[in-house]
Symmetry: C2
Subunit: 332 residues, 2 copies
Amino acid sequence: MPEKLPGEFEFIRNINRLFLPLVPSGTEGIGDDCAVIPLGNGELLTVTTDMLVEGTHFLRHRITAFELGFKSLAVNLSDAAAMGATPAASFLSIALPADIAPAWAEGFLHGYKSLSEEFGVPLLGGDTTSSQTGLTVNVTVLGKVSAREIKRRNAARAGDAVCVTGVLGDSAVGLKLLTEATEYAKEEHKLIRMHHTPKPWVKEGAWLGTQEAVHAMMDVSDGIASDLRHILNASGVGARIELSRLPLSPEMTKVCRERGWNPERAAAEGGEDYVLLFTADAEECNGLQKDFQARFGAGFTVIGEIAAGKPGIEWYRNGIRVPEDFRGYEHF
Amino acid sequence: MPEKLPGEFEFIRNINRLFLPLVPSGTEGIGDDCAVIPLGNGELLTVTTDMLVEGTHFLRHRITAFELGFKSLAVNLSDAAAMGATPAASFLSIALPADIAPAWAEGFLHGYKSLSEEFGVPLLGGDTTSSQTGLTVNVTVLGKVSAREIKRRNAARAGDAVCVTGVLGDSAVGLKLLTEATEYAKEEHKLIRMHHTPKPWVKEGAWLGTQEAVHAMMDVSDGIASDLRHILNASGVGARIELSRLPLSPEMTKVCRERGWNPERAAAEGGEDYVLLFTADAEECNGLQKDFQARFGAGFTVIGEIAAGKPGIEWYRNGIRVPEDFRGYEHF
């Protein structure tokens, strides 16, 4: 996701200032991956929405229709999973420029449908309209989770292990390839695919939600350097991250080596991996890892620990504190 | 709302074809003002979403920021009301071009907030992003209604009275003024305001939902000639409409007379009035009218009756059948 402009931050601040007083007690608005509305009987409704704008979030000639349809739903399913919720329904609004061909529209819907089918999330409505300018897509996903199993950003505790599902940095390197190169080797195509069709960790998120050992959780949309800070700020704790433990794919490290890019920075700052970032009780982490591995066929990776103290990340390389101050997204 | 282009209809047909098989039993997807999801205990969740695109739905230099914020929420509240539901939460996605001034953004949020406050509908989330081209707004509204009180389009019965709240055609004449004139008399400004800040009949819709005498209901977004046909098709009945009974505002008739426009056609075909169109048991209609009047300070208008037979509208003028075939939106 591109960095936000000052005007956008201002807009979001104004929303918080103007609308926070209207949020009823027990309901959670802006501030986590989803809004949360109590349904009674200990059940919660989660709601998330994401807008993808041509020229800002994607270039129409660089992403296939199938991929864009897939990604539009994937990023929203990821937000539901990030709270331990099971996505239950989606809504699609799309503004179509006149030059969209029927085959393109069909491809978009097939990409969207492939994820709808995989996770049993029906498309229940939306809005289709014309656009005089670019293509814009907005997707809303509703999910359900019990009040006992929901995971929020504010539940990290000192001593917790910091964990991620999947690998970091593939998507960011894929985006860098899209914007800075024109011819690609085979493994480079794979990284671009990771950027265009990120896997939403739907089943893993719902299962992690059921685990008491898991404390805080969110998805990685802006890079762990940025996203982990959201957990730290919400929880009032710090973190120590070991850079040598960041899970990197062999394709990503190879491409970075060949192109002279910094894989560590791509993994720490690169956005849009949409893996789950969570903290878990350190003593239960081994058991959790085994159960996760048995259930999903692959483990998660422990990349550091939560520490008492002020929110902020201390970075280590092979056990030695380093002065790096990784921040936003995509500066590797 | 502008007429849809062939590509949009094709897109919607494809959505129905591809996604209908995924809709679980008991859940209602595309086809009414809102999607409907059972929550258990006889409670239903309604979901509606509308996208407003610069150049398609509005011209940024012709609508104030306050009005656009107001209208973005109003059209969605209207969809909830059209099913007898009480809106419970909203979500706002907005793509902001770089030339949006802070004061504009603030005005937009104040317009949105004025309706949020009036009806106690909190804004719980959304997405703020930048746009390289036009301004796009997408709003999603969740509502709640009991399964016994929800009103759908498919419940009209032969003999029912056909009723509308409010007046017809103001918004369409307002739009025609915006696009075809540049200087306006006082009452013309009022019609333009009706186009830019339509009243959502939130409390009236929720109350009509509780009335067993009310059968089918929807809101008027495309004009009654078009929208009533949705009720007729869904219910498998016809209708006789008396043109002399269409409720017209004095401002609208005056402007049409002065400018040589056809007020009857504006009322029959003009869209975006966002009044409620409903059918009610003819024998109970007088009592319903009195209760409605007592509660809301103004009555509704009976404009015709539902008839057995094929879906379709027969138009009458002062009791005499006329050959008019009013259709779409905005051809007066």
